[in-house]
Each structure stands twice: as C-alpha cells, then as structure tokens.
Symmetry: C2
Subunit: 318 residues, 2 copies
C-alpha cells in the first residue's frame, strides 16, 4: 500500500500546539492507513508520545501571528512552521495535503510560493457548507482574497465549478453571485461588473444574484463573492447557529424542556461550522485545508478526514 502522509502545522492556532497535537493523535487513531508529518517544536512533539512509526517531525519554532505581516515573515531567516509544512508538501510525493489553523495570509502566501497548480491562477479558499436542500454549497472566496476585481471573481466561479463537478459529479454546477438583491440591477460596483462578466462567461452555469438570506438555501452549488463578504457569510452563519443553539439550551433549562438538549444536539451535528467548515484552498497542486484559529482537536481530525476523501476521489483543483 502506498504511503500517505498528512502534514499538520502545529503553530498559529488560538488553542495552542497541544490542541493541534491532540487533533493529530485523533486522526492517527481514526485513519490507520495514514501517517502525519508535524511541523513545530521538536521537544513538544516528542513529549506527546504519538504512536511510533506513524509520525515524523519538521522542526520549526516560529509562527506568523495575525498581527504579523505574512510577507515579511516569508523572508524571515528562522524556520516558520507553515512555510516548512508547505515546502515539504511540494517536495514529497507521499504527502497528500496540509492542514493549518494559523494565519490565513501566511498560508495563502506560502501555498502560492510552493503549491501553485497553474501560474495564471490565483488560488482562493472555499468552504463547503450544508444547505437546507440537504446538499452542499461551495462558498468562494471565504477570506483569502480581500479587495478583489471582477476578473478574480470570475476565476473563483471557475475554481468552485471545477471543484463541485469533481467532488459531487455535477455536470453543470449552478453558480450564484452574492448580492444585496436578487435582481441584476442590485449590487455594489464590483458585483454589477462581475454579473455582466459571468452572464457571458463560457463554462459557467450562471444563475444570477443570490441574496444574503438565501446563501444556504441550495439555490446554487457555487456561491461567488470577494473574501470580505464571504468571510461575513461564513462567520455570520456560524455565529447565528451558535446563538440559536445556545438559546435553545438556555430555554430548555429555564423552562424544564428536556427535549431541548436533543434538538440542540441535532442542530449542532447539522450546522456545526467549526468542525464542518474547514476552508479548502482551490488552485493548488495538493490539498491545503485552512481550519479556523479556534479549532478544537475534533475539527482537526475532521479536516484530515475531508483531506483523505478528497485525495481518494482524485479531486484536483484546477
């Protein structure tokens, strides 16, 4: 059997390297055919006593925080865990992908440097979100590219379409454009210009503008927006899900409704963005998964599962 390795960037997570290490441990337990490559401080990794022969170490002590400039960090002389991880992914055939919960800008810059699939394509970060039709919607971009132009959004539409075609075997994924109204006249300058381009773009099944209250209604398979708005959709959906679930639990306690716990549990399994919604970079030669900074160990294990699935489906990104 061929060797399959997943690289995990241990640094940059809000919960610290220990949580990432526990995520790695859970992934090793859950997926026997896979081993991990851990990018981070050697002493810490060795102290974790992971199963022998199932891991190797990339030594790196430095990370890029949200207050650092990712580009400056890139030219740092010290070993930065995320760049070591991406470099190793580019060199080593056994590696099937990289997982990081660190700074998005650094991960993005590193992926462009080491794993760019096609020099003419700027990668983007997609999220696969559960929609109310029981399917999934690919939201792209979710925050990697802020301040985009219309041509970039057309690129995102292609990346997302390719991805959904491959992953869900859709012939012509329906592409929607996030706007402040369903009519073609609605939108900011960027959205109006993008609308005009997408309407005549070949290879894109454009279904028009999608309003904010319909993002997860299953009206489209790919929802295109620039990273700032996409980040709002992603985090707002997650935040609202958390708010409502919290309210249900509170209500159950104060009003003695034991079923509230059961309902909250069901909704958490259905709308738990924190563990579901790791971002997937599109446009790279290997799978790069961006987990939220606040990811718990389970989210890291789930990202590993998704990475393995994508690899087994031979899902490529350009």
């Amino acid at each position: 059997m061929e060797k399959r390795e997943i690289i995990i960037d241990l640094l940059g997570s809000d919960r610290g390297a220990e949580e990432m290490l526990e995520g790695a441990r859970m992934a090793l337990e859950a997926f026997p055919g896979v081993s991990v490559v851990l990018s981070g401080p050697r002493a810490l990794i060795e102290a974790a006593a992971l199963p022998e022969g199932r891991y190797r170490i990339l030594e790196a002590d430095k990370t890029v925080t949200n207050l650092d400039n990712p580009i400056e960090a890139f030219y740092s002389k010290e070993p930065v865990s995320v760049f070591k991880a991406l470099e190793e992914a580019s060199r080593c055939d056994d590696v099937i992908g990289v997982i990081s919960a660190g700074n998005t800008g650094a991960l993005f810059a590193g992926a462009i440097r080491y794993l760019l699939a096609d020099k003419t394509v700027r990668p983007c970060i997609a999220a696969i979100l559960p929609n109310t039709q029981g399917g999934f919607t690919c939201l792209v971009d979710t925050g990697a590219s802020i301040d985009c132009g219309p041509a970039q959004l057309v690129d995102f539409a292609h990346r997302g379409s390719d991805f959904m075609r491959q992953l869900y075997k859709l012939d012509a994924p329906r592409v929607g454009l996030l706007s402040n109204g369903a009519e073609p006249t609605k939108g900011n300058k960027l959205v109006k210009e993008t609308h005009a381009l997408l309407s005549k773009e070949e290879g894109i099944h454009f279904v028009g503008n999608i309003e904010g209250n319909k993002t997860l209604s299953g009206l489209c398979d790919v929802l295109v927006c620039e990273g700032f708005a996409g980040n709002q959709v992603l985090k707002n959906s997650e935040g609202m899900a958390v708010n409502l679930i919290t309210e249900i639990i509170k209500y159950g306690k104060t009003h003695q409704v034991p079923a509230a716990q059961e309902i909250a549990g069901y909704l958490m399994s259905r709308f738990d963005f924190a563990s579901l919604g790791a971002g997937i970079m599109l446009g790279t030669s290997k799978v790069v998964m961006k987990c939220r900074g606040s990811s718990q160990r389970t989210a890291i294990k789930n990202a590993a599962r998704m990475l393995i699935n994508l690899n087994e489906n031979k899902t490529i990104y350009v």
Copy 2:
C-alpha cells in the same frame, strides 16, 4: 390630544397593497390614538372599508420597482406613492412618520429630497437587532449606501451613536467596525481606512473591529459597515434563523418530539427579523421606517408600534 398620523406607502411591497392595507387595519386596532394616511390607489383603499375618520388618502397609482431606476422615477410626471408619502410627511405637522415596504433606493432618494434633517449629512438605514446579551445592537448601514468611502462610515458611527444614546439612554454607545478579523490589521481597504479614522474620532467610543460571528454578541451597541456588508449581515442572520427554526420543526415531526414546536415558537419570537427588524432611517427630520419587501401585515403593525415609540421618546436622528 394632538393628532398623530402615520403615513403608509401601500405600493412596492412584494405581497401587494392588500397586505399593507391589512397592516394599516391592524395598526389602527392596536393603537387607538393614531390615524393613518394611505398613499396608493383610491379605489383599493375605499374598498378596504377602514374605520371612518381614522384614515385619509393620498392618491397615487405608480410605484418604483426593483428594476426601475429610482432617480428616473423621481422625475416621473405620474404620482409615485412613496414620493407622495414623503412629501406629505414634510408638509404636515400631524404626521409622525412614514412606513414603506417598497424600493429602498426610491425611499432613500425621496427622504433626502423631502426630509433631510441637515444638508451636510447623508442619511443611512439602521436595523435594531436583538443580541445574545439580551440587549440590542444598531447595525448601520443595512443597504441604503452601497460603495461608501471611509468618511461616510464615520458619519454612520455618529448617526448610530446618537440614536442609541437617545433611544436607550446610553452615555457612550460602544461602536464596532465590521471586519474579517478582530485585529486592527484585518479588513479590506475601506475598513482599514475607516479604522484609522474612527480611532481618533471625537464623540465616538470606538471598541475596534468586530468579526462576522460576533455581530450579535453584544460586544458593541453600534455596528458600522457599508451597506453591502450590512445587508449581508442582516439577511444572513435572518436566513440562518429561518433555516434553523425550519430544521427544528422538521425534526420535531419526524422524530415525534412535540416540544420542538414550543422551542421553534420561542426562537421565532426572539429572532424573528422579518417582524422585528424594520430598518430605521437615521438623519431625517421625521421617522422613516423601511420594512422588508416581503413583510406581512404583522410586520407593518410592528413598524407602526416602533414608530410611535420613537416619536414618544422624542428620539431624533441628528
């Protein structure tokens, strides 16, 4: 007792003038001290047989649809219901405010023409949303001003602060700036420039960037963003609330959990944006409420209640 009139624009709603008329009827029943001025087709209004002496008519047969250009409609020779409504509000002292569920651009243009409180101030549309601390957050702008500059966002911060000071008697309302990360380095070009301005703006209690998953966490009293992003926050929050509530009802039916209905009902009362979240124009000399195009009669009645409350609190906007 002084006469208090609320003008209701009957045209432009997705549900038709009949639904608006029924909203007017509910408002008349609920608020005995108030009468209504109905802007719309005379025959339709007379056929509704509202209580004698509690209404008068502004004849108007034309509306502005989402496909029309609001500025062109403004120079139309025919009587447009929303403009008739706003003109009457500006002329008549008994009128305490205007309610419309029609095109936002037309309402906005008309309000600038007829009800501008201060010529140096561009109005904006705020929404007062329930937050998880049990309080309310003023989101501004929610879609009236797309493609803003940083100075405009600073204006919104002032309008929102003034409003929350007056309505909730807050000394120094906390102002947050919607961004894709909490750190001051996060944001698109507009947000970064606005962050710098708000940090040194007098009369603003700026608490920094707010991420999309914290919009309704009660971390700020006023959440500032340009209209495109604000529209996403508003509609996305609403959409997610609807999605989760729908899931709860479905789950209750398929799994025979009768308490699901009770919990769904509770959440609907707590997070029903459609009836709660009528937009309030800030920067006008009279209260202008923008209801969603899909508003039901109850939402119109609730908007009337809010309008009466704002008027009684002597809440002004600049």
